[in-house]
Amino acid sequence: MARAMMRRLVFGLIAVTGVAVLAFLLEFVVPGDPARAIAPRAQSAAVLANIRAQLHLNQPLVVQFASYFGNLLHGDLGMSYVQRQPVAALIGPRLADTGALALAGVLAEVLIGGTLGVLAARHDRVRAAVGAVNLVLLAVPVFVLGLVLLLVFGYQLGLAPVAGGAGPAQIVLPALTLGLIGAPWYAQIVADQVQEALASNWVRTAVGKGLRDGYILRRHVLRNVLSPVLTMAGMDLGSYLSGVVTVEVVFVWPGIGLLAYNALQNLDRPVVMGTVIVGAVAVVAFNLLADLARMLADPRAREEA
């Protein structure tokens, strides 16, 4: 198991390095001059040349890459062109807000999807209804659902704040949006797994032994459901941490996604690169954690590894 985790860790590091290299190269593909972005109204060529020298943009590409990478290893993501602050300092506080939203969203989707899934597995009629709900939820783009929730609960009913910002009242609608969008996946997996477990020999044996229903459900059914749900929740957490751009834009939630969106509108490349790299780290780290959690919860996964 330790060896399998090491292998994955190495693959993860390679992936993050790849993203970092891509992000660096991107700087040179994006049209536009960073010096112009910093000093849009600068008239003299000397000023622009000065800025380029300050950013080491007049150095050969290899030298620039080496210093960029060295800084990266020290946690230095560079300076924002527009906000004149270290990128890491911009991302740091927003990471907490995005983290809160990601956690609330994953919790919501596990709860909504899990409930739908267990209901669907127990009754055939409900299964058809849940299938229809799933299909509709799958067809709604995130931002449309977000706007509809905002319109109904925010503007019409006045139950939720519409102003944006991060807080316990503001988190409800964006988390619900993520939860509803993610729920079909969980519902489907939970329904399949519960049905499979209920039809299995071990559950029949457990029933034959005269074990209580609640115990069978906990010990023999839900245990089997747990492993794929954990994997999916971990992966979702990672991908939400990399910025739930659309939801953050709709609800003006001040997280990494909104930061990346604004930075792209402003051609603030260091910030874009920083968010992409932090996002990649989040995705890789949480995929690893999801694997680890699955191995701890499911002996079969330990054997596979």
Partner: protein, 284 residues
């Protein structure tokens, strides 16, 4: 239909096709609805400069600039359908080629291609889409390139798995034992199977493409104003959400209905074709 046993066609397929046909008609007839770009400053706006509500002249009312919302919707649907078709074909063609090569020829090509596919599957779509958008001029081409670049990896994975499964089957081994060249085996034995799998996958892929186009355009990373797209119409309409929610709801419903129609066609094909049953919208 005479001779055909009742109930052979799943209702999902019929319903989905009907909705798609209606949208296609709307897209083709778009010029009849009027100009999507010209503001009507006399009858398209109230005396105080607000958009007007639905009327005989403007069935869906006008947008904030006094432009015909129905005409914009029709042209927006045109964009959605074009993107769905073009990026669907491109991403599936690339994905199938990658999966076939990796699965059939194995070796180093397999390693490189499948690791690339893994990276593609792990990318956060929206963020990656925004980044590609930053390096291209706005427009239809940008949307199609972004969607193709992000959507090829899933079909690649599907085809790769299918080829690995087929390779162990008798007919492929027999073909190889008879001395058929690799290319001949791919063409005669693998391609037909892979084609039917990809045909079954394409409506699901198209559904995702429609939704993602709307998302990109909503985020200013796809079709940019003044050209209409369902996504940027929603983004424009947001400013009027308190007093004219129809400007958000109409394009929002259109995106949803289009996506749902593609999903239904996919579901319908799934119940018809036993091969496709393994496929599910869970893939995305």
């Amino acid at each position: 239909m005479a001779g055909r046993p009742a109930g052979r066609r799943p209702w999902q397929l019929l319903a989905g096709t009907a909705v798609l046909a209606a949208f296609a008609a709307l897209a083709v007839a778009a010029p009849l609805a009027g100009s999507p770009l010209r503001p009507d400053l006399t009858r398209g706006l109230t005396p105080t400069g607000l958009p007007v509500g639905p009327s005989a002249r403007y069935p869906l009312g006008t947008d904030l600039l006094g432009r015909d919302e129905l005409a914009r919707l029709a042209y927006g649907v045109r964009v959605s359908l074009t993107v769905a078709i073009a990026s669907n074909i491109a991403s599936i063609a690339i994905g199938a080629a990658v999966g076939l090569v990796a699965g059939f020829f194995r070796g180093p090509a397999e390693q490189v291609l499948m690791r690339l596919t893994d990276v593609g599957l792990a990318l956060p779509y929206t963020l990656a889409g925004l980044v590609i958008a930053a390096i291209m001029p706005a427009g239809l081409t940008r949307v199609i390139v972004i969607i193709t670049a992000l959507f090829w990896s899933y079909p690649a994975r599907l085809v790769y798995g299918e080829v690995l499964r087929l390779r162990r089957r008798g007919f492929v081994e027999a073909g190889e034992a008879m001395g058929a060249s690799g290319l001949a085996v791919v063409r005669r034995h693998l391609l037909p199977q892979v084609t039917s799998l990809m045909l079954a996958y394409s409506p699901l892929n198209a559904a995702s493409a429609v939704a993602f186009e709307a998302t990109l355009s909503y985020l200013n990373a796809g079709i940019n104003p003044p050209a209409p797209s369902l996504g940027n119409m929603i983004s424009d309409g947001q400013a009027a959400i308190t007093y004219r929610p129809l400007l958000v709801i109409a394009p929002g419903l259109a995106v949803m209905a289009l996506t749902l129609a593609f999903l239904l066609v996919g579901e319908g094909m799934k119940t018809r074709d036993p091969d496709a049953r393994r496929l599910s919208w869970l893939g995305r």
